[in-house]
């Protein structure tokens, strides 16, 4: 078993890893920037090291500072959390080269899945459905036009090295595609230093459904069911739930098998997520694999009773995952997660500042993962996520009712938060009826 884990992250996910470490009797080391001296993960870890200045590129993204902190504290494992260095193959490699254990998949698996067109080719070869489109990067504009004719418009161009919506261009006809090809390449070059783009069929009203997978070093790969994440704003998820209100048991097992096949194709270990787009006709397509623990992992934990971070630590220590052998994971009830961001609920502008007081909701079926406390000052340098409110009920209606009362009883004074936006979503008849697609939030943005 690992004896001391350095957490290369901050905020609520760093606390989440500390929780798992404590329960397993593993010592924890927090690293922090100068702006995060008062952060709760620094107070809760067994040791802490200041590794750099407020800007993440000097601290949380600074590979040599993180490694040096592991060296001076004698940590034997590094947990990257999500964001920052979590999906940086180079970092995973250096951690291993320094004789430390990276708590996550291999550098090769991160690299493969980080290259969107290589990932697409690899999972397609394993029999996972992918959106019709180019077989990897496009050679030129003529090839783009030819493929678009074959698969039909609309089509979308995406950066091979990309993510987060940059380098993406939508085209409804050949004229638009001719123009989009150059702008997508320029944007990809600027954002990722790699101009190569690929082309896919564009779905007008898809759902974003992702499957949680867990794989250990003993050849076992399982899925833990899906999360419905269609409620997004600018490709940022706001609210996630499990299970999806629309998947049939047959679809669930078919998509689950595809998720496991994708993980196997990457020789994946640790916790990971395979994202799919589900079309209105029920067909589904691989979108990408996230090679890390995710913000919304708690939704799956609530319905499966599996502690995913604990499993990550066990798997990284070379042990088998602790789920009962030869049995599918049982999904119980319904869970919803609300991401509480420090931002204006109407304009979505970030709202850093001092939290004058906090009252967190409790009671049956409510879990809150947060690093804020009364008197805590939210620094302006990082992500605006300050809390995750996760509710669990016997069914979706009970979860919605619990979500509503939990959000009504959540009090964060001193900064604006997205709580009110979530309460609006919970009153939305389309949401209540499970009528979702990735454009759900557009109505709130265009008002």
């Amino acid at each position: 078993m690992l004896s001391k884990v350095l957490i290369a992250n901050r905020g609520e996910i760093a606390l989440r890893v500390i929780q798992a470490c404590r329960e397993l009797g593993v010592a924890s080391v927090a690293v922090h920037s100068e702006a995060d001296r008062d952060c709760l993960h620094v107070q809760m870890a067994d040791e802490s090291v200041c590794i750099g200045g407020p800007y993440a590129n000097t601290s949380y993204l600074n590979v040599s500072a993180v490694i040096a902190a592991a060296e001076i504290t004698g940590a034997d494992g590094v947990h990257p959390g999500y964001g920052f260095l979590a999906e940086n193959a180079h970092f995973a490699e250096i951690v291993q080269e320094c004789g430390l254990t990276f708590i996550g998949p291999s550098a090769d698996a991160i690299r493969l899945m980080g290259n969107k067109s290589a990932a697409r080719q690899a999972v397609a070869a394993a029999g996972v459905p992918v959106l019709p489109g180019s077989e990897g990067p496009l050679q030129g504009r003529q090839e783009a036009l030819r493929i678009a004719e074959q698969i039909g418009y609309p089509v979308i161009l995406k950066a091979s090295a990309g993510g987060g919506g940059r380098g993406m261009r939508l085209a409804h006809d050949a004229r638009e595609l001719r123009h989009a090809f150059d702008t997508a390449r320029t944007e990809a070059e600027k954002a990722f230093g790699d101009a190569s783009v690929y082309l896919e069929k564009y779905l007008e009203r898809p759902r974003h459904i992702e499957f949680q997978v867990l794989a250990d070093g003993h050849g076992r790969v399982v899925h833990l069911g899906e999360r419905e994440c269609s409620i997004q704003r600018r490709h940022q998820k706001l609210l996630e739930e499990a299970p999806s209100a629309v998947l049939t048991p047959e679809q669930r097992s078919e998509m689950g098998r595809a998720a496991v096949a994708a993980a196997r194709a990457a020789r994946y270990t640790s916790a990971g997520t395979v994202e799919f787009l589900l079309d209105v006709d029920g067909s589904f397509y691989f979108m990408e694999m996230n090679t890390r623990i995710q913000v919304e992992h708690a939704v799956t934990e609530m319905v499966t009773d599996v502690d995913l971070v604990r499993e990550q630590l066990l798997i990284a220590s070379g042990e088998r995952m602790s789920l009962p052998p030869r049995r599918a994971v049982h999904v119980r009830g319904h869970a919803i997660e609300f991401r509480i961001n420090a931002e204006d609920p109407d304009t979505f502008a970030p709202s850093p500042g001092t939290v004058s007081s906090v009252v967190l909701p409790g009671g049956p079926g409510v879990r809150v993962d947060t690093h804020i406390y009364s008197g805590y000052t939210i620094p302006p340098y990082y992500d605006s996520l300050i809390a995750k409110v996760i509710v669990h009920g016997h069914d979706r209606n009970e979860a919605i009712a619990r979500g509503r009362r939990a959000l009504e009883m959540l009090r964060i004074d001193g900064v604006s938060t997205s709580t009110r936006l979530h309460l609006r979503i919970l009153r939305d008849s389309d949401f209540i009826n499970g009528n979702l697609d990735t454009h759900f939030m557009d109505r709130y943005l265009h008002e």
Binding site: E34, C50, I51, G52, S64, A68, E71, I72, G74, C98
Partner: protein, 168 residues
């Protein structure tokens, strides 16, 4: 992994017998102790560094509390402390990186600087080792060293005070 007591015992042994060096390897950890001739001045430890130990990086830790180095340093430090109590007009050199602090280029050498020394702007004050790289830390102004905050071979954080300098 070596116990702190064991390391102390070995250091005493090397020191008292005049043996040049002892190197022991056990369960993935390696410890090398070299005796030096006269004890180095001003807090310089007479212990050589522990060789790099990828399996058990903890082995570096005990060095932090190397014995017998501070005999001469102690009065100087108290004196410096008295001065620093004002702190007014002093300039502080903080570590620009996280790592391990070394006061000399190698274990046998004299420290780069000691209390009372006059340093020029750009002069090397110490080394901070991170990921096996020795980073020379330079003085950002000219003046007199009035305090050294960190003992040799101690871990330092980003932004931690290393030296106090009275500007010339």
């Amino acid at each position: 992994m070596f116990k702190f007591d064991e390391i102390c015992e070995l250091i005493r042994l090397v020191g008292s017998t005049g043996v040049a060096s002892v190197e022991i390897e056990r369960a993935g950890s390696r410890l090398k102790i070299e005796g030096t001739a006269p004890p180095a001045a001003e807090g310089m430890t007479s212990v050589a560094q522990v060789a790099s130990v990828p399996v058990a990086p903890m082995a570096q830790q005990p060095l932090a509390v190397a014995p017998a180095p501070t005999v001469e340093a102690a009065p100087a430090l108290t004196q410096a402390e008295a001065e620093a109590s004002e702190e007014e007009g002093l300039h502080f050199v903080a570590s620009p990186i996280v790592g391990t602090f070394y006061r000399a280029p190698n274990p046998d050498a004299d420290p780069y600087v000691k209390v009372g020394d006059f340093v020029e702007k750009g002069q090397v004050l110490c080394i901070v080792e991170a990921m096996k790289l020795m980073n020379e830390i330079e003085s950002d102004l000219s003046g007199t060293i009035v305090k050294v905050y960190v003992e040799n071979a101690q871990p330092v954080e980003f932004g931690e005070r290393l030296f106090a300098i009275r500007p010339a």
